[in-house]
Amino acid sequence: MPQSWRADTKPHKFCPGCGHGLVLKCLGQAIDELGIQGKTVFGCDIGCSLLSWDFFNLDSVQTHHGRTTPVVTGIKRARPELICIAYMGDGGGYSIGVQHLISAAARDEKITAILANNTQYAMTGGQMAPTTMPGQKTETTPYGRDPETTGFPLHGQEMVASVSREEAYVARGSIANLRQLKSFIKKALENQMKEIGFSFVEALSACPTNWRTNAAETWDFIEEKMPVYFKVGETRKNE
């Protein structure tokens, strides 16, 4: 268990097999390796990410649905010496809060935003998200998502990259490759530590509860289905 995890709130509140735990494990390891536990502030969204409100041995604030980016931006602007992390789901980041994410990227806010993409709204019981895949059944696309009426999955990482500066760090990782995901998150945090600019990591994540998948199906969804629409890699890496 990473040093920066708060052991006495474990087991955490995520469901069995939830990808949030893995994304936050990578984040915890990155924080440990960078030795920034003493100056990092963690913000989480409404969505299952809220279940991490007491997850870390970090000062933390759980905000409103989609509003973690501005809260964390507000903290960073007021105290630029802090390392500020905004953690959110795809609903919070790409739907209700997309104006905040885009504007933070466009203004080159010196924060790190991490977004767990589990292709639907998990906390509310599995509705369509901008990331839901064509044909995927959710509670609001009971007959499968029809791109003709609801569009294709949003390429959020690419969108964020399109409004970011060259110096920004923008990447998409996956819990299918944890070493890489951790390295992306670490680079994102370094971008902030070096005051280079905005950083953003989308993490392909899993929600076995709403996907109604067993372990094998869960891995299949993450490893085989999601990459069809969501390309893993670094889009802006300031090298």
């Binding site: 006495d8 995520f14 069995p16 494990k25 372990a215």
Partner: protein, 82 residues
């Protein structure tokens, strides 16, 4: 803060496989990822009252199960070769 979870350690040929039933939610992600298919359900119940995980002797202590566990319920120690 210290971890207060009860570890259950299996000594195996290549290493020590430790599971914390108090952390294991029985999701099965680790079982799927074991390259040796050496993991399976145990009679010991995990935190949600579902079976937790145990290894058999095929375990090579590669640590993949530990890495993929979202709950950090597995600890692996490789035996040092002499």
């Amino acid at each position: 803060m210290t971890m207060e979870f009860q570890p259950r350690t299996q000594e195996l040929e290549k290493g020590y496989f430790t599971l914390f039933p108090g952390l294991c939610k029985g999701c099965g992600l680790c079982i799927e990822k074991c390259p040796k298919k050496s993991l399976g359900w145990s009679d010991v119940l995990g935190v949600y009252g579902t079976p937790s995980v145990r290894a058999n002797s095929d375990c090579i202590a590669c640590g993949i199960c530990r890495d993929v566990c979202p709950d950090c319920a597995i600890h692996i120690e490789k035996k040092v070769k002499h």
